[in-house]
């Protein structure tokens, strides 16, 4: 029954509903695949007992006709989501054995709709990283390899475990989060589909906080339609998150396959990074042609402040992180390293609990917020953020969506960018603008490079207009006809 893991979420849901296989069989097939793929390090915690219990309940509901929209679907959960009674670490030693006494709203929504949890997925520590190398559990290995090479590649980050699990058929789909590109960049590097929805679409309650004005949850999936199905269940207003948006959640899957004729697509000329491989340029041009062929009107637009988005982000996100991570003081939960005084205990705990990248960002955050620097750095960055959002507002007067590359490169080798923080940060050059402006962004696989590695394209939409992204995404998906899968070299 291992071929069940090759199904899309949509096909699996159809198969479950038609009783062609059971939720238990589906979960067991995934468990076997997960066990055979431990060398990828995608899961930091497998939960076969929970999966079996949830799948049995799903089978009972499928039998009695009370099935929810995700009934019986085997999913992986990024370890940033708190799951009641199941260890949740955010990829950090400081939360080493934290067992949440509550469930995040997003995962609660998934269980309400009948989904089954396979386990918790690896990630960069506190979602800070673009290669999964900052995880306390060690990096995830990308299921994709370059032609004729055994060199381990990164799946991207921070949702690297989610992306690798979906790419390697270790889950039908997975939850992920995106603060500067952490859904879309891994999607691009693993040949999967990911969407960061509009800020406020998914509740942040119960998701370990990194930078609260930027953090958003979203799905990683095998197809555009699967992403639409999963996002609908994840979304919805939640009184427990004051930034959660009121209003009904659209049936996102209903936009899949709709004609895109007459839609105006903006191509921002500033999205050409120095040293970007010509293959990415070519794929972008190909994407423009595909949308033109589908009846879209192409408009060149300018987003003049694009190059300032990353430096602004590297003030705003660390500032918010330094505040959010102040809670890890060793007193109420997580790691404690005792010292002679209270301050010694705090300092020793946080020195032992935080990895190098988290420490770096907390220090930058504390610096830019400290007396004498607040105006020069933090306030300046918030003003630049407004400029970036204004750029988008002006562009969306002329167009319905934007098309850009997702990432400036294909998957790179583990360790390759580890010594230069700024070089690593540049991975998010095309994705981070969207977080600063609070807009939805979708990445989908559009082709392979000469090395046989996947490359993604990104669609950016107006706030609350995920529907148009699914519509355009499905048109691009159809045109690109991306069917490549990584060879399963990891299976023993």
């Amino acid at each position: 029954m291992t071929d069940l893991t090759g199904l899309t979420l949509k096909d699996a849901l159809d198969g479950l509903k038609a009783r062609r296989f059971s939720a238990v069989e589906l979960a067991q097939a995934h468990q076997a695949a997960i066990e055979a793929a431990r060398s990828l390090n995608a899961y930091v915690l497998e939960t076969p007992e929970e999966a079996l219990a949830m799948a049995q309940k799903s089978d009972a509901r499928l039998k009695s006709g009370d099935a929810g929209p995700l009934e019986g679907a085997s999913l992986g959960i990024k370890d940033l989501f708190c799951t009641e009674g199941v260890r949740s670490t955010a990829g950090s030693k400081i939360l080493g054995n934290f067992i949440p006494p509550y469930e995040s709203t997003v995962t609660a929504n998934l269980w309400r709709d009948g989904a089954v949890m396979l386990g918790k997925l690896n990630m960069d520590e506190f979602a800070m990283g673009s290669s999964n190398e900052t995880s306390a559990f060690g990096p995830v290995v990308n299921p994709w390899r370059s032609h004729g090479s055994n060199r381990p590649l990164t799946p991207g980050g921070s949702s690297g475990g989610s992306a690798a699990a979906v790419a390697a058929d270790l889950a039908l789909a997975a939850t992920a989060t995106d603060t500067g590109g952490s859904i879309r960049q891994p999607a691009s590097l693993t040949g999967t589909v990911g969407i960061k929805p509009t800020y406020g679409r998914c509740s942040r309650w119960g998701i370990v906080a990194f930078a609260s004005s930027l953090d958003q949850a979203g799905p990683l999936a095998k197809t555009v339609e699967d992403a639409a199905i999963l996002l609908r269940s994840m979304s919805g207003h939640d009184a427990k998150d004051s930034t959660s948006l009121p209003g009904a959640v659209p049936d996102f899957a209903g936009f899949v396959g709709k004609s895109v004729k007459g839609l105006r697509i903006g191509v921002p000329k500033e999205y050409r990074a120095d040293g970007m491989p010509p293959e990415i340029e070519k794929l972008w041009a190909q994407g423009v042609e595909w949308l033109k062929d589908a009846g879209c009107e192409i408009v060149e637009v300018s987003l003049p402040h694009t190059k300032y988005a990353l430096p602004a982000y590297y003030i705003i996100a660390p500032a918010e992180a330094s505040s959010n991570l102040a809670r890890y003081d060793g007193m109420r939960y997580g790691l404690r390293v005792d010292g002679p005084t209270l301050t010694d205990t705090y300092e020793a705990t946080r020195a032992a609990g935080f990895g190098a990248e988290v420490r770096r960002r907390v220090l930058i955050g504390a610096y830019v917020l400290s007396a004498g620097y607040y105006d020069a750095y933090y306030l300046k960055a918030l003003k630049v953020r407004r400029r970036i959002a204004d750029d988008f507002d002006q562009a969306f007067e002329k167009v319905d969506a934007l098309l850009t590359p997702t990432a400036p490169s294909a998957a790179f080798g583990l360790g390759e960018n580890a010594s230069d923080p700024v070089a690593m940060y540049l991975n998010d050059v095309f994705t981070v603008t969207v977080n600063l402006a609070g807009l939805p962004g979708l990445s989908l696989p559009a082709g392979l490079d000469a090395q046989g590695l996947p490359l993604g394209l990104q669609l950016i939409g107006r706030a609350l207009d995920e529907g148009t992204l699914f519509q355009l995404g499905s048109a691009l998906e159809k045109a690109a006809d991306f069917r490549a899968k990584p060879a399963p070299w990891w299976r023993p």
Partner: protein
Amino acid sequence: MAIDAATVKKVARLARIRVADAELEPLAGELSSILAWIEQLNEVDTEGVQPMASTEAVSLPQRDDVVTDGGDPAVILANAPKADRNFFVVPKVVE
């Protein structure tokens, strides 16, 4: 602006993270190169621009001031590194 080892020490103290003396210089170098890259923000004219702390234009909603949760110390203390009866045990803070 380049920051020196003394500044790193001060900021680390503010952030309550112990940094070994041997690490101060290398960290100062790393943080300085990040801050030097960030300096390009000064090229942007932000005269009269309102700072944007949130992407949402709405004011924060308010809820009724009523107790919605609580009364379960065992659950609250379940993850505590040290607990005694219904209390977190913390290092002595008052001499």
